[in-house]
């Protein structure tokens, strides 16, 4: 059955590619194909021990499958961890496709085919039970992304993606080869580890390879280019969905394959393994750096790219700490990030679809023109900044709690300040794009795009009120790792340090709003156009030719303060390495002088060398 599903999706991908001439039809076909993984993951819900109702069982699927391709056997099996991440991807994927039905015009067939292929690869990764199939599906995912990146026609994007993709592939390959030579088997479950340095090196290589996908500093260099040059639906899926695969793989290899005991045997700090602590620290650093760089951007997509770098850092923190609290927080953050970041990228796409502009300083005042897009973005940004009006806060709260529980005195303030920095760029998006002076007379986004955005925002609101449901979702994973699920009711989470009651927050907010309404509607009001603004008494008609939108160089003082520290980034280091390799390449090219005499002399020298060798030997 599973094989049939893979094959069906492949066939649908070919169909979509064949319908290249008719973008809309091809998109609809792909949309139906994209629903398959979601039905699959829902059908599996009972097999991993969740009490989902029976009628949600669309397919009867085997839990594990060994598929022999003649020279190797793919071992696929559904695990709670894989199920959870598959849920994230499978729910973000259809939205991206739904959005692109109206968005993608040119050469849509190739786009949809590549999207489905990347989804197939991701499903394979999440189900893989042995190294070979893991690596194979990983690369399939990776190059189908490459195919999508190539549509951007952008040199920097393509080159940085392919180089970093292959770099990560090679790191992973080296790592798994080390593991293989250590254990002599390809199957995860048969790998028994002793804690020696080989395993440590292998794990470090693997994690740094996965860090490329889940953009962690200093492997994040490719992301801003790719995120900011490619088509929005794809970027939404890449940032929202596929970047999670890196973190899935980290959890898989750190906690399932190698195991917490081995991690701890390399030394612990406040009974968190040093390895995990390092990862957590890198995560905190990523969160901070991504945030600061996001504040400095003016291109909407670049800003979102850096912000997603910053938000993904939190997941790494949770994975690194690795307590039940931290794990739940990391998974929760992963879920939130999937939904709000996809929604934000799609909204950016919708704005572009209507206005044809990317620069924040050139947009403005769309809030009244595209109210529903604005509201979707508002909720997504609440989730991003962790305002307790969406579920975004609960995740960050769990991570803070976990860090305090372990008495991490230096990671927590960095997390907090990164969280505050998120307010800054969030407001930059809100003001620069949706508030301020209306400069574009545009319609609201098309219905399909709105539907995609709102369906992505909805879970954020649901999990705000019932974070306990989310904890129920993750409890199989924690059980699977032998961790204790954190204590909770549908709307409260209790830790050893404090409790968080979402219902109280909501009710109190409602009460406060009632009070405010009572004050507010005491008086009538009249609405004036934005041109009727106080500008030291200048009549507005004198300002027709001048923009009153202050969004260009919005945080200029901030940039002035921070630019000196971020002038020399990770990118420069990578460029220096590349330059060095290019110098080597020049040397290699210098060998081929193109003069035949030299070549003959090479042969002679070679002959003499060989003879010399024999003589010595």
């Amino acid at each position: 059955m599973l094989v049939e599903i893979f094959i069906t999706m492949l066939i649908l991908a070919l169909v979509a590619a064949a319908l290249n001439k008719y973008p809309k039809i091809s998109g609809i076909v792909t949309f139906f194909a994209s629903l398959i993984p979601f039905l699959v993951v829902i059908s599996w819900s009972q097999d991993i021990g969740l009490s989902f109702p029976q009628f949600l069982k669309f397919f009867t699927l085997e839990k594990s499958l060994n598929y022999n391709i003649g020279i190797a056997t793919f071992m696929l099996k559904i695990t709670p961890l894989g199920w959870f991440f598959l849920l994230l991807l499978a729910s973000a994927f259809p939205m991206a496709i739904l959005f692109s039905i109206t968005f993608i015009k040119k050469n849509a067939g190739g786009f949809y085919a590549a999207m489905i292929t990347s989804m197939i690869g991701s499903m394979g990764i999440l189900l893989a039970q042995d190294i070979l199939s893991f690596y194979m599906f990983w690369e399939i995912m990776s190059w189908s992304i490459l195919a999508l990146v190539m549509r951007s026609h952008d040199k920097k994007a393509i080159m940085s993606y392919l180089s970093f993709g292959v770099l990560s592939a090679m790191l992973i390959l080296l790592g798994i080869m080390l593991l293989y030579s250590e254990t002599g088997t390809f199957v995860f479950s048969e790998m028994g580890f002793m804690a020696n340095n080989t395993t440590l090196i292998a794990l470090s290589l693997l994690v740094s390879g996965f860090a490329v996908k889940g953009v962690l500093v200093p492997m994040h260099v490719w992301a801003p280019y790719v995120y900011s040059r490619s088509e929005e639906p794809f970027v939404a899926f890449l940032s929202g969905g596929l970047s999670k695969l890196g973190y899935f793989a980290m959890i898989l290899f750190m906690y399932s394959v190698v195991g917490i005991s081995v991690l701890n045997s390399w030394g612990t700090f406040r009974d968190v393994s040093i390895f995990g602590y390092t990862l957590a620290f890198i995560g905190a650093l990523t969160a901070f750096i991504g945030t600061v760089l996001a504040i400095m951007q003016d291109d909407l997509r670049k800003l979102l790219a850096y912000s997603s770098i910053g938000q993904l850092g939190y997941i790494a923190i949770g994975i690194g700490i690795g307590t039940p609290l931290a794990m739940t927080g990391a998974l929760f953050q992963a879920l939130n990030h999937t939904f709000f970041k996809s929604a934000l990228f799609l909204a950016a796409g919708a704005v572009y679809y209507r206005t044809g502009k990317w620069k924040i300083s050139e947009l403005g005042g769309l809030g009244y023109k595209m109210p529903f897009t604005f509201l979707a973005v508002l909720f997504a940004i609440f989730a991003l900044a962790g305002i307790p009006i969406t579920s975004g806060f609960a995740a960050k709260w769990l991570l803070y709690e976990a860090a305090i529980q372990k008495k991490f005195l230096f990671i927590t303030p960095i997390m907090l300040i990164a969280g505050v920095g998120a307010f800054l760029y969030s407001y930059k998006i809100l003001y620069g794009v949706f508030l301020g002076e209306p400069r574009h007379n545009v319609k609201e986004a098309p219905l399909s795009q709105l539907a995609a955005m709102w369906l992505l925002v909805l879970p954020l609101i649901i999990f705000l009120i019932f974070p306990g449901w989310f904890v129920d979702l993750t409890s199989p994973i924690l059980k699977w790792y032998g961790l204790m699920p954190i204590s909770h009711t549908p709307y409260t989470i209790t830790t050893s340090l404090a409790a968080y009651n979402t219902l109280a927050v909501i009710l109190a907010l409602i009460g406060g709003l009632i009070l405010a309404f009572a004050l507010y509607f005491s008086k009538p009001q009249k609405v004036v156009p934005h041109t009727d603004n106080y500008l030291a008494g200048e009549p507005p008609e004198l300002y027709e030719h001048i923009s009153m939108h202050a969004a260009s160089k919005y945080y200029e003082p901030f940039d002035e303060v921070f630019y000196p520290f971020f002038k020399r980034g990770a990118e420069m280091c990578w460029m220096a390495i590349l330059k060095f390799v290019k110098i080597l390449g020049e040397g290699a090219r210098a060998i081929y002088t193109g003069i035949v005499n030299d070549y003959s002399i090479y042969i002679l020298i070679f002959f003499l060398l060989l003879v010399g060798w024999w003589l010595i030997w």
Binding site: D532, Y534, A536, G537, E538, P539
Partner: protein
């Protein structure tokens, strides 16, 4: 009846917190600092000067007004929220003062917007200013300071006068007069 009491209470309150936007055109502004600062502390009556007309109740016009300035002044006045009061400061706002024969200054401010109270003198002493504000306060208390209502009532005429002031050429003026006649 209750509405009466309510508006009376409102009048009492608003007379005790007059926020003024200080439209400083001429030399008259010289006299404001002593009024604001520790010599004759104006804040003891709850008066402070605000930065924008949106927040202000009193428009204080200190000194002469060129035509261009008037344009801005009208803009500021219309951006204020009702109830709002205008204080003409110095003889320039009454009859042009020492600019009485200038070709591009406004002679009589009350032609262009309802002035609730004038302060005579070139230039008036701080005591006079304080006195004027106190008078304005009990005018508000009695409900006599109704300039903003007048502005709504005779809006067309005020606009016409303003247009005539802004227009440079005689034929424009004629057009406006005829247009108003019809």
């Amino acid at each position: 009846m209750r509405q009466e009491d309510w508006s009376k209470l409102a009048r009492i309150m608003s007379k005790r917190s007059l926020w003024m936007v200080h439209f400083c055109t001429g030399c008259g502004a010289m006299e404001m600092p002593p009024v604001l600062t520790s010599r004759y502390d104006m804040e003891r009556f709850g008066m402070i000067s605000m930065a924008t007309p949106r927040q202000a109740d009193v428009l204080l016009v200190t000194g002469y007004l060129a035509v261009k300035t008037l344009k801005r002044l009208v803009q500021v006045y219309e951006q204020m929220r009702d109830p709002k009061y205008v204080v003409g400061f110095g003889s320039c706002t009454i009859n042009g003062g020492m600019y009485w024969d200038s070709y591009n200054t406004i002679k009589d401010l009350s032609k262009y917007m309802p002035v609730d109270i004038y302060i005579a003198g070139c230039m008036p002493r701080p005591e006079a200013i304080i006195d004027a504000f106190l008078k304005l306060m009990d005018m508000i208390d009695k409900g006599e300071a109704t300039g903003w209502k007048k502005y709504h009532k005779y809006y067309k005429q005020y606009k016409r006068n303003q247009k005539m002031a802004f227009s440079y050429r005689l034929d424009e003026v004629k057009d406006i007069e005829e247009g108003d006649g019809k």
